[in-house]
């Protein structure tokens, strides 16, 4: 018998039991829909996290001090980075658009009767553009103010709200750990990440921070902005070479600093989110599996019900293979049907989640192919046992079946 005829027969048998076919397919529909919508939610969450993180700049290289070591023993102090290091990088490393040395510490702010405990960040003039901040009011400090270690500060949006509420802060004087600073600017709010609010800090010249507030001569990190993301690795290497030279590190000795870029961050975050997606998808796949068991159950019932039909077909010359194919096509058709409807339902659900729930969802073509392929595979896998049972029936007994 030609495969087309078998197809027609399977279709006819499914149509003659519409409700049963629908209910059987429902298991697969729910399974496929949940796989697709779950993966789309997980994928959406991943993309959202990545885009939030990339707001902080993916073309930034961060240099942090490492521990000084003598004879393989860490001496404990992490004061290996100096302001001169940042100046050297700015001067000698090509392909970069900005360098910002930083010192930071939390400090007590005071304006009139209002108090706030917040991060005080001493930086260079390029920091504002490096960290993707926009100025809302006033201006950022300039090189003269840095060189002269002036007591000027720029407020983050959260600090502004805490200390000044609605009033104009420009030109006002606040106290930072008891020392007077003049407010010269305010940054636009950037929006908080769950673990850290970038708007809850104030910015002061790095020199002022070192000499007048924190009392330190080293710095805590240097941010370097690359002109092109493609050049990140070259720049990192240049920086490492330059700093080794500057720090007098002999060949074969370890660096006393670390050079990292934010894409490394991004990767590890992406990996975590991927695991989350797999977990959701895996749970959904279990429901697909349950749908497959439903198919097997109904096919077994169907084979028993149609014992006599199988007997007739065998008597008039159907081969084992042809009976097997007939029933297998039926179960695959059910899962095919369920897969198709499930994809539509899954896409609808993920769109509803994004519209009503306000979550980002991304339906990927891979998840569709995966869910659909899996469901057809389940049709074959769970349809095989009943089909094989039908194919192996003894025609005489099957014909006698009432």
């Amino acid at each position: 018998m030609l495969i087309l005829d078998l197809f027609k027969m399977a279709l006819r048998s499914l149509i003659s039991h519409k409700l049963r076919t629908f209910l059987t397919a429902l298991g697969i529909i729910i399974g496929v829909a949940s796989v697709i919508s779950m993966i789309s939610i997980g994928e959406g969450a991943r993309q959202q996290t990545l885009s939030t993180i990339s707001k902080f700049g993916t073309n930034i290289i961060t240099i942090k001090p490492g521990q000084k070591k003598s004879r393989h023993v860490s001496t404990g102090k992490v004061d290996t980075l100096m302001l001169e290091d940042a100046q050297l990088i700015e001067k000698h490393v090509p392909l970069i658009t900005g360098v910002a040395a930083q010192v930071y510490r939390s400090a007590q702010l005071k304006y009139e009767n209002k108090n706030s405990n917040t991060t005080v960040r001493g930086t260079g003039k390029s920091y504002v553009s490096l960290a993707n901040f926009e100025m809302a009011k006033g201006r950022y400090f300039n090189q003269q103010e840095i060189n002269a270690a002036k007591r000027v500060c720029v407020l983050g949006a959260t600090v502004l709200k805490n200390l000044f509420e609605e009033t104009n802060p420009l030109g006002k004087t606040i106290k930072v750990d008891g020392k007077n600073f003049m407010v010269i600017g305010v940054t636009e709010p950037k929006g908080a990440l769950s673990w850290f609010d970038p708007d809850d800090q104030i910015f002061i010249p790095v020199t002022t921070a070192q000499k007048r507030v924190f009392g330190m001569d080293h710095i805590q990190s240097i941010d370097v902005q690359a002109a092109n993301i493609e050049d990140l690795e070259i720049i990192k290497e240049d920086i490492a070479q330059l700093l080794r030279l500057q720090h007098n590190i002999a060949d074969g000795k370890e660096n006393d600093f670390y050079v990292q870029n934010s894409s490394q961050w991004l990767n590890s975050w992406g990996d975590a989110a991927k695991t989350f997606t797999y977990l959701l998808g895996g749970i959904a796949a279990i429901s697909l599996m349950v749908g497959g068991i439903g198919i097997m159950n109904i096919m077994l019932v169907s084979v028993t019900e149609r014992t006599r039909e199988i007997g007739i077909r065998k008597a008039i010359g159907a081969k084992k293979k042809e009976i097997l194919e007939q029933f297998l096509i039926e179960s695959v058709l059910i899962s095919f049907l369920g897969g198709g409807v499930g994809i539509l339902l899954g896409i609808t659900i993920s769109e509803m989640v994004s519209k009503i729930g306000g979550w980002d969802t991304i339906v990927s073509s891979q998840s569709i192919i995966l869910a659909f392929g899996f469901s057809v595979g389940i049709g074959i896998f769970f349809g095989f046992y009943p089909a094989n049972k039908a194919a192996n029936m003894n025609p005489i007994e099957a014909l006698r079946y009432e």
């Binding site: 039909e309 010359g317 084992k320 014909l399």
Partner: protein, 227 residues
């Protein structure tokens, strides 16, 4: 055309073994019209299953058109059933969801015969049911159902048609009609074997084989019948 020699069939179910057929031998030639008679348990159904290649004998030899059936594999048996044997059952055994035409066409589909629809239509015409081709079995009378079954049996131009109590589920008038259809087909040189327990039906055949307890008791050729 059919030659069986010392055919025996033993059903072995664990501790119990039943001999349903004991060393049966006979020959049937092309164009014959044979009735196999006997009470239930006489082995006529077993003989029918063996002749129809639905089952294989325990011992003995069965040749159909020179082909030794006992050596065949399941798929080859299916092929012989498909091309060389036509079945007509007491309870019609049509597929309920398929039309008369589709039921008739089915053996051709399994045999991968080209132009199956036209050939099936011709077969329906032979049994006088061309006008009911698009009807499903539920819309047909008993006699019409059996005619469809006969058309299905005929459609592959088999060597023999095996009919198991073909009038058993029909009233006497319809039964007569079916029998006269068989006579007509027999005149067209179709070989017929009918299993029945009705003397009246059996007497319409040209040869009666009577069975009892798995053996043939009589095998007589009848004079020209009255019908």
């Amino acid at each position: 055309m059919i030659s069986i020699e010392n055919l025996s069939k033993v059903y072995d179910s664990g501790s119990l073994s039943v001999t349903a057929l004991k060393e049966v031998s006979f020959q049937i030639d092309k164009g014959e019209f044979v009735a196999i008679m006997g009470p239930s348990g006489s082995g006529k159904s077993t003989l029918m299953n063996l002749l129809g290649c639905l089952d294989l004998p325990t011992t003995g030899k069965y040749e159909l058109e020179g082909l030794e059936i006992g050596n065949l594999k399941a798929n080859q048996l299916a092929e012989v059933r498909n091309r060389r044997i036509g079945f007509v059952f007491q309870s019609f055994n049509l597929l309920p969801r398929a039309t008369a035409l589709e039921n008739t066409e089915l053996p051709l589909l399994y045999g991968r015969v080209a132009n199956s629809t036209e050939i099936a239509m011709q077969a329906l015409e032979r049994v006088g049911l061309k006008h009911r081709a698009k009807h499903k079995p539920t819309e047909l009378s008993g006699g019409e159902k059996q005619r469809v079954a006969i058309a299905r049996a005929l459609v592959n131009q088999p060597a023999i048609i095996l009919a198991d109590e073909p009038t058993g589920n029909l009233d006497s008038v319809t039964g007569e009609e079916i029998m006269s259809l068989f006579h007509e087909l027999n005149k067209q040189n179709v070989t017929l074997i009918i299993v029945t327990h009705e003397e009246e039906i059996a007497r319409q055949a040209k040869r009666i084989i009577k069975m009892k307890d798995g053996r043939i008791t009589t095998d007589q050729i009848l004079e020209e019948t009255s019908c």
